[in-house]
């Protein structure tokens, strides 16, 4: 799958500031079409209305967590191939393994920098 800077990206986080940070970093990387959602439920609704080229999601949100969103996405045949990166402060080994088993494409531990985000996005699209 090739990296297309014009593809729409969905950023999911319940913390507005983090959405703003990721949006700015994505803008610096050349992504201009960025949507946002504040939890998994809202994200899932948006994903059913629009085909996103990449989802960047936090883990710890209510009512639907990023982990639940990931499982919903992988279980839905129309969404299952959507690249999904988890960006989270959840940094226990079991979180990383659970996300990997659920089919996440990459995992970024907060706090992170622009270089890490860029590297993970590139890694997802070079697979």
């Amino acid at each position: 799958m090739a990296l297309d800077l014009s593809m729409p990206v969905l950023v999911v986080d319940d913390y507005k500031t983090m959405i703003r940070i990721i949006r700015n970093l994505l803008k610096q990387l050349g992504f201009d079409d960025v949507d946002e959602a504040s939890d998994g439920t809202e994200a899932l609704g948006k994903m059913k209305e629009r085909r996103y080229g990449l989802v960047i999601s936090d883990w710890n949100m209510e009512p639907m967590t990023g982990y639940e969103l990931l499982k919903h996405v992988r279980a839905d045949s129309s969404l299952t191939k959507t690249p999904f990166i988890m960006v989270t402060a959840e940094s226990k080994t079991e979180n990383v393994i659970a996300a990997k088993k659920a089919g996440v494409n990459n995992y970024i531990v907060k706090p992170f920098n622009a270089q890490t985000l860029k590297g993970k996005i590139e890694a997802v699209f070079s697979d």
């Binding site: 700015n24 710890n60 967590t65 959840e90 940094s91 226990k92 979180n95 393994i97 531990v109 907060k110």
Partner: protein, 220 residues
């Protein structure tokens, strides 16, 4: 001296074995002696009970002193709400500072750099805004230290109370709440302290390893 309970038991056993006819006087004498023995026993029990009740009263008085020392009203209506307000203020201050810093950075990022002098003047202005915004750290540090002092105050008093009540930390297993169950099932731990969580390098090793056996090796 009146016979003790054991002697009386022997007498009664002896009379039963021998099957002797007893007169009413014999029975009365025996009853009087038994009653006298019971008085002594009751007196001894009474002293024991008295000592026990004194000990219980002492414990209750100590407990009352400890509970009084907790100053629960002061804790519930002053210290804990104040700590909550301090933390709310910390969240608000950090958010305000973050927004100010991000707005300054966004203005710099989107500024027209074709006029170097104007661009430099804008950057200098925005840098001052960023420095000013960073001053939040001093105030939030002080607020957080106040909250830590409140937590220490509560911890000290609860520690004394559990010591007085002789409560072991392993006692009183609470049943899992709905929120605890949700956090367990959805693997919600929250941020880890420095060094407690995994590093990005570790995560990268997991994701650079496509074979499950190799992943298992990472965990020993």
């Amino acid at each position: 001296m009146a016979p003790g309970p054991e002697q009386l038991t022997h007498i009664v056993d002896f009379l039963r074995r021998e099957r002797r006819d007893l007169s009413l006087d014999d029975v009365m004498v025996l009853a009087e002696r038994m009653a006298a023995t019971l008085d002594e026993t009751v007196a001894r029990v009474d002293t024991l009970l008295h000592d026990e009740f004194r000990a219980i009263v002492g414990e209750i008085a100590a407990l009352r002193r400890e509970i009084g020392g907790l100053r629960t009203d002061h804790m519930r209506f002053e210290r804990i709400p104040e700590a909550g307000l301090e933390l709310d203020a910390v969240v608000e201050a950090t958010e305000t500072a973050t927004v100010a810093i991000m707005e300054a950075a966004e203005e710099i990022m989107s500024a027209d750099a074709t006029d170097p002098d104007a661009y430099k003047a804008l950057v200098d202005d925005k840098m001052i805004v960023i420095f000013e915004a960073c001053s939040f750290q001093d105030i939030t540090g002080q607020r957080i230290r106040k909250v830590v002092r409140t937590l220490s105050w509560i911890e000290e008093r609860l520690g004394r109370l559990t010591h007085t009540l002789k409560i072991e930390s392993s006692e009183g297993h609470e049943t899992e709440t709905e929120e605890e169950r949700r956090r367990r099932e959805l693997i919600l731990h929250g941020p880890q302290m420095k060094g407690a969580g995994v590093s990005q390098d570790f995560v990268d090793d997991v994701f650079n390893t496509s074979n499950q056996d190799d992943i298992d090796k990472l965990f020993g």
